[in-house]
């Protein structure tokens, strides 16, 4: 546990608190009061948290003089920032809401940035000085948020969350599918950009590195999901949901375990 007594740390903590309060208010609003006022207050707090997460990200960018996506601290800061715009986009454009779930995702991903990962600025090693560095990581992180939302919808599906047709939002099974449809192209692009970059930096577009193999496995889980859903449509919604949840577990392993565990030494160790 590392508390950051800096302006950046402070803005991360404000964002976490705002996301958590937004979550609690939205949760109470859903369960008890059902008043539009609580929804608005929750949304305002969520937006407030986003502003501080964005400020923290911009501050970091200026501080390190490169796109701050080099290590786990910076990636989690970015994840915490993009939760809100993705949530808004999904609600308004894709008819996928998750109630208070998105706010909780925001707080969860900011937590390690605030309390666990080291924020010591680092200079970019030669291998990371590529124009592919920022898009590769940014695109992956975007896809991860979509896939996390898909897993959240799957949990709702498995929990038997009642669907309210008045909400104008998709039921959980369809929402899961739509989220994976939104995230899968980004996941594919991330994999391809990484492969292309690997060819430029290390001489091979595929190095059989643990991180590469876990990211391939994550991609394949969603490929499996699409084929399974095509075969059985909605006959087995619980299995469809299980695919989405397994996908997120694989993503978490790719993002965290591979970098933090000594089990998987490899070319991506600088991301730790």
């Amino acid at each position: 546990m590392e508390i950051k007594y800096t302006i950046q740390g402070l803005s991360i903590y404000i964002a976490i608190v705002a996301y958590l309060l937004a979550f609690l208010i939205a949760l109470l609003g859903q369960k008890k009061v059902r008043r539009s006022g609580s929804g608005r207050a929750g949304h305002t707090l969520y937006a407030f948290g986003f502003i501080f997460a964005a400020l923290s990200f911009v501050y970091r960018w200026i501080d390190v003089s490169h796109v701050p996506l080099q290590n786990l601290f910076e990636v989690f800061l970015y994840l915490g920032m993009i939760c809100y715009p993705i949530s808004l986009f999904c609600q308004r454009m894709l008819r996928v809401g998750s109630g208070c779930g998105d706010m909780l995702i925001g707080a969860i991903v900011l937590f390690p940035a605030g309390f666990i990962f080291n924020a010591q600025p680092q200079r970019l090693p030669p291998a990371l000085q590529s124009w592919l560095f920022a898009p590769h990581v940014a695109v992956y992180a975007l896809s991860y948020i979509f896939m996390a939302k898909a897993a959240l919808q799957s949990v709702r599906q498995l929990a038997g969350k009642a669907f309210n047709p008045d909400e104008k939002l998709l039921p959980p099974e369809e929402a899961t599918y739509r989220m994976i449809c939104a995230g899968f192209p980004l996941l594919t692009l991330g994999l391809i950009l990484g492969s292309w970059w690997g060819k430029l930096a290390w001489g091979d577009y595929w190095g059989w590195d643990p991180k590469e193999l876990w990211s391939l496995a994550s991609w394949l889980v969603y490929v499996g999901y699409f084929h399974f859903r095509y075969m059985f449509c909605k006959k087995h919604p619980r299995i469809n949901s299980a695919w989405a949840i397994i996908g997120l577990v694989f993503i978490l392993i790719t993002l965290l375990w591979v970098n933090l565990s000594r089990l998987f030494p490899g070319l991506h160790s600088y991301a730790t």
Binding site: S130, P185, T188, W208, F264
Partner: protein, 338 residues
Amino acid sequence: MSKFKRAVLRIGLALIILLIFLSVYGAFIGAERAKSFFNSLPLSVYWITLILLLIVGILVFRRLIRVPWLLFIHAGCILILAGAVWGSQAGLKLQSRLLGTDKIPVGQMAIFEQESENRVALENSDQVRELPFYLKLKDFRIEYYKPDFLQVQSRDGKSWNIPVEINTEFSLGDNIGTVRIVRKFENFKIKIEGDNRVPCDDPQPGFNPALEVEIQSPDGQVVTKYVFERFPGHIHAEDGFLLSYKRVISDYISELQIIRNNKVVAEKNIEVNHPFHFGGYHFYQHSYDDQAGQYTILMVVSDTGVTIVYAGYLMLCVGVFWHFWLRHIFKVKKADGD
């Protein structure tokens, strides 16, 4: 859905699930062993089966031909797998037998400054092969981020990162004293002058960056220390501090010329992320002489199959984005227009 189609889908799903398990297994055994594992004979059978099944799938499911973006996705996967098989060591051996081509798959070459070289030591082999042209190394250099840092750690756990500026005094606090960097060496050596040992910057080839540092205690006592980049953590029992010289590498650069028939036909600086493509090979900055900086080590990789793989990437990417994103956007726009 016919029984045959259903069977193709089931086999496809089974192969996907199998590849998930194989990838996870590969992640646990490390990159080197995973590479051998995925290039082994049983796995070659798997890859060929996957390619054939994708082709069968395209032929059997008319939707995959009718919907061009689905065709792009599946054909893209076929191209990626086919390109990888074509460019693999087994693929190159096959091409050698069938087409009579004779390319070096992967290897390394060490080139000294101002010398030309065409010999390549093959990867995982004692064999040395020759390129049909020479590479001349004009210069090899390492660039560093500015400034360098002197790191000072006291015995009670305090630490300071001091930018290296000659003759600038840095206070470590009233109780500890000051630090002053007196001199910077690129290649530190000791020479004997009479009975004295004198530190100097040796112009001969060598690589031993160091700093001469003066530490003044609050009572005015001055101690001179030498801090070496390549020997961090060097400390004497009487020292109050652990001193380290930190530089962060920003780039490795090999300035090269390609020589064919005694004529320079191309020139290029190779850096990490900026390889050089010539004569059917990619050349990468791989390693260097860390003792004296006198030679560079380049990685030589055949470009066979790479274009096919990249074409597959492009098709897969275009197909996936069109199928999952763009067609919906256009549908919505069309509906809005109507």
